[in-house]
């Protein structure tokens, strides 16, 4: 990740910890968000979309699954689409 992407990824980690109750020490850049350990579901993805929109003004409505894979892919999507 670039320096900017890392900055965004760290903020996304904070947001996901706060809004989705994920233990901060478990939430690495790489861990799959929809895997067994964190276990996000469709309701959680709506929450992520709202958080990213609030924080960065980036709409992820209707975006495919790939950017939601982990914190790194979310950060890269935000970095690429931020206004």
């Amino acid at each position: 990740m670039t320096e900017n992407e890392i900055k965004i990824a760290d903020r996304i980690k904070e947001l996901l910890s706060e809004s989705l109750g994920i233990d901060a020490d478990v939430l690495t850049y790489e861990i799959p968000l929809f895997g067994d350990e964190i276990g996000l579901d469709s309701i959680d993805s709506m929450e992520i979309i709202a958080c990213i929109d609030d924080e960065y003004g980036v709409s992820m409505n209707g975006v495919g699954k790939e950017p939601f894979y982990n914190v790194e892919s979310l950060a890269k999507y935000v970095a690429a689409n931020i206004g």
């Binding site: 809004s19 989705l20 109750g21 994920i22 233990d23 478990v26 067994d36 350990e37 964190i38 276990g39 309701i43 959680d44 709506m46 929450e47 709202a50």
Partner: protein, 802 residues
């Protein structure tokens, strides 16, 4: 045939919803296929994809005598209750008030007042209107009930479970007459919540048809249920019999029903079996029929699976298509519709089908008459009402023109009920061993507001994974940990063989009010289109019981009762009844309450949060506010014996009463508490001379101290009281509301089992006040556990040595 002493009958009905202000109007509109679904008026729908609701238009809601003390939900409830009482012709002046109770269901309680609190100056007067607890208290005040008064908070199944519980209490001999039902008001919290879940239909909901979401409604329903013998003795008009009910949990998902319909079918089959009926006997079902794809598909499956084989004459409809989904009122409103259908021999329709929908309906309906668009005359004998709620709670109840074949043991024939496991989450730490250590150490809290903590160590010990517990709010997390701890302590593994033999009764004073307030504050800041789909499922009071069912696999009875601090022991009384009446072998009875910044602020508004160092029976202005969760595993003797369970103690009886004092206060409840003690002792076959000790509810606040002393003087006499040790757990853990009242029972069980040191701190009355002392508890055999809610509801439970 059901023996007369086991017969419960409906002698009065009341109802209010978007298509009528009383039963006659609501019924006439329904059978004329009138829909009350319109554009929303009372909440802001800006930016929301759906803007329909079925709101009540009634200009007389403020006519109730205590209207200024009530949230809209209580006003709605009192309206239906008053109609039902008047319809029943009961003259309260001629009734023994301790035999008259109120059980009311609600999902969201006083959310209108929560919004008003945050929008209009955070006034203390809104605080006592917020909890669901207030609703039954307001109805009790209206009618002068002095018996069992409580609220069932099982979301969309609450109204149905309330009626079922009232009948169970009548059959247990606890009361003669109950006002039972439910109420909910339309408000921002449920509206924005269902918007966030994308569960609202943008068009009027279309159950069993388009199935693209719900439309919210509001209103209330009330029935007067009465023992047959009592109704006949006063020459009452009898609408119908209430036969058996069935209550189950899904152990599946916090908002979605099981796709295989297992939990729904368990509830329906239990209701049939408890009524002595077969599937072929049911002529009409008022279905849950919300209009969501998941509910309707599961319900189609459940009904076809149970009824298709033997029933060629079944009609089904969803009145939600006209009155919307009234949440905690739904079961009660639909019960009244089912009763009217039965007595009028007429089936109200599901509205909203277009010509082009009919082929699809016929295909999905099969041989069942899913009554579309127009009412039909039909001779009916037995009708059923089904409700399936958030949290995976299912309830089914049967009304009939015949007496059925209800076989429920009388209270005197109840099997003994043992306490076989404990789970403790408290501000002084978690687990039984920790509690025993802290009890030895003489620990006292040093702050005015104290908190329980659950962390990774607790979750790991309970084998709870982050993917599960991260979804829970603090209230549900406290409950999940204490519940799983209690199961482990009881050495009870839930598996396919025993899952339906185990139930849950959660008691809570304030439920998830903190989460509701948090959700509401977000709405005020960001608008109703921006509610959190993550938080919303946790705003229902029964989320904690639902999550416990999911993580433990428990599929039996599942109810959440809420009526102030005493909820933690009234849950034990409830569970004792469920086991005694043979509904379950094992029930987890709990007391759970959360203390957050929001809760401390709300209790602070009432002026009762205060560090107190003068002891439990001081004359302070407040108490140390705490939180936590206590779970007791209650188990029938035969079940405990069969699996060689270690037993702490035995639950031998209970008494529940109510004083019609102002909600939020206790002063004036002395006689009610005294009566609760007397009834509890009588039900346990004991006299006052048999009581070795009391575990009371002293929290340092003067009003509670005066209440306890006054009540015990009346109950035991001053001489006995001077030698009667009174223990309290609140001096150590703080006023943890339902958690500390359940802990009082756990403390009694720990003393009786010899797990605590024999020498224990206690208080003794010296003619002037309660004085601290140390007592030897080795010879204790019978302990009375007491509690009282701010609002006058009192409970006493007898715990005996085995």
């Amino acid at each position: 045939m059901t023996e007369n002493k086991n017969r419960c009958v409906v002698t009065g009905i009341g109802m209010l919803n978007a298509i009528g202000n009383n039963v006659d109007e609501c019924w006439d509109s329904a059978v004329s296929a009138v829909s009350g679904i319109k554009e929303v008026k009372s909440v802001n729908s800006e930016g929301c994809y759906a803007n329909l609701a079925a709101e009540v238009e009634n200009s007389t809601l403020d006519d109730a005598k205590n209207a200024s003390d009530m949230d809209r939900v209580s006003k709605l409830c009192v309206k239906a209750a008053t109609e039902a009482l008047s319809d029943s012709g009961i003259d309260m002046a001629r009734e023994d008030s301790t035999r008259v109770g109120v059980i009311m269901g609600s999902c969201v309680g006083g959310v209108v007042s929560i919004e008003n609190y945050y929008r209009n100056g955070e006034s203390a007067s809104d605080v006592t209107k917020m909890p669901i607890s207030a609703i039954a208290n307001m109805v009790a005040q209206e009618c002068g009930a002095g018996g069992v008064v409580t609220n069932v908070a099982n979301a969309c199944a609450a109204g149905t479970i309330s009626i079922a519980y009232a009948c169970d209490l009548i059959r247990a001999g606890v009361g003669d007459v109950f006002v039972a039902g439910g109420a909910d008001a339309f408000a921002s919290v449920p509206y924005a919540g269902f918007i966030s879940l994308h569960a609202l239909d943008a068009q009027p909901c279309s159950p069993f048809n388009r199935c693209s979401g719900i439309t919210l409604g509001e209103g209330s329903g009330a029935v007067i249920v009465e023992s047959y013998e009592h109704a006949v003795a006063r020459n009452a008009k009898i609408y119908c019999e209430v036969l058996g009910s069935g209550i189950s949990s899904d152990a599946h998902h916090i908002t979605a029903p099981r796709p295989d319909g297992e939990g729904q079918m368990n509830a329906i089959r239990r209701a049939l079996a408890n009524s002595g009926l077969e599937p072929k006997d049911i002529g009409y079902i008022n279905a849950h029929g919300t209009g969501t794809a998941k509910n309707d598909e599961a319900e189609f499956l459940s009904l076809h699976t149970i009824f298709d084989e033997t029933n060629d004459n079944l009609s089904v409809s969803s009145t939600k298509s006209m009155v919307g989904h009234c949440l905690g009122a739904a079961g009660a409103i639909e019960a009244v519709y089912a009763i009217k259908a039965l007595t009028e021999n007429k089936i109200p329709p599901t509205v909203g089908y277009k010509d082009e929908d009919m082929d699809r309906l016929h295909e999905r309906a099969g041989k069942i008459d899913f009554r579309a668009n127009v009412a039909i005359d039909k001779e009916l004998t037995h009708v059923m009402n089904n409700s399936f709620a958030f949290g995976g709670n299912n309830a089914s109840i049967i009304f009939s023109k015949e007496a059925g074949d209800v076989k429920i043991p009388e209270a005197k024939d109840f099997e003994p009920v043992y306490i076989t496991g404990l789970g403790i989450v408290s501000p002084i730490g978690n687990g039984i061993e920790n509690y025993i250590e802290k009890n030895k150490s003489g620990y006292r809290p040093t702050e005015a507001s104290v908190h329980s903590t659950v962390d990774r160590t607790d979750y790991d010990a309970c084998r709870l994974k982050m993917a599960f517990y991260r979804k829970l709010d603090t209230f549900s997390q406290l409950q999940a940990v204490s519940g799983m701890e209690a199961l482990a302590d009881a050495k009870l593994e839930i598996n396919d063989q025993n899952a339906t033999d185990v139930g849950i009764v959660v008691g809570t004073a304030d439920g998830p009010i903190s989460t509701v307030c948090d959700f509401q504050k977000d709405l005020i800041e960001k608008g109703n289109s921006a509610g959190s789909a993550f938080k919303f499922p946790n705003t229902v009071y029964n989320a904690a019981g639902g999550y416990l069912s999911i993580c433990s696999g428990i599929k039996g009875y599942n109810v959440t009762v809420t009526n102030g601090f005493q909820s933690g022991i009234s849950s034990i009384a409830y569970a004792y009844n469920v086991i005694g009446q043979g509904q379950e072998k094992i029930v987890l009875a709990t007391g759970t309450d959360e203390n957050s910044e929001i809760i401390t602020e709300l209790y602070g508004k009432l002026g009762c949060v205060e560090g107190n160092t003068d002891g439990a029976y001081a004359n302070g202005n407040g108490f140390v506010l705490g939180d936590g969760s206590t779970t007791l595993v209650l188990e029938s003797k035969s079940s405990a014996d069969a699996r060689g369970a270690e037993c702490y103690a035995k639950v031998s009886g209970y008494g529940m009463t109510h004083a019609c004092v102002k909600f939020g206060t206790v002063s004036g409840s002395e006689q009610a508490l005294c009566d609760a003690v007397s009834i509890a002792l009588k039900s346990a076959g004991l006299g006052i001379e048999d009581v070795d000790a009391v575990v009371g509810f002293g929290n340092g606040m003067e009003a509670f101290t005066r209440l306890e002393i006054g009540a015990y003087k009346n109950a035991f006499g001053e001489e006995k009281l001077k030698t009667l040790p009174v223990h309290t757990v609140k001096e150590v853990m703080g006023e943890c509301r339902a958690a500390s009242s359940a802990m009082s029972a756990a403390h009694a069980a720990l003393m009786l089992s010899g797990k605590l040191d024999a020498e224990q701190n206690a208080y003794m009355y010296d003619g002037e006040g309660m004085k601290a002392c140390s007592v030897n508890t080795e010879k204790y055999r019978h302990i009375l556990v007491t509690s009282c809610a701010a609002g006058g509801s009192c409970c006493a439970v007898v715990i005996d040595k085995i």
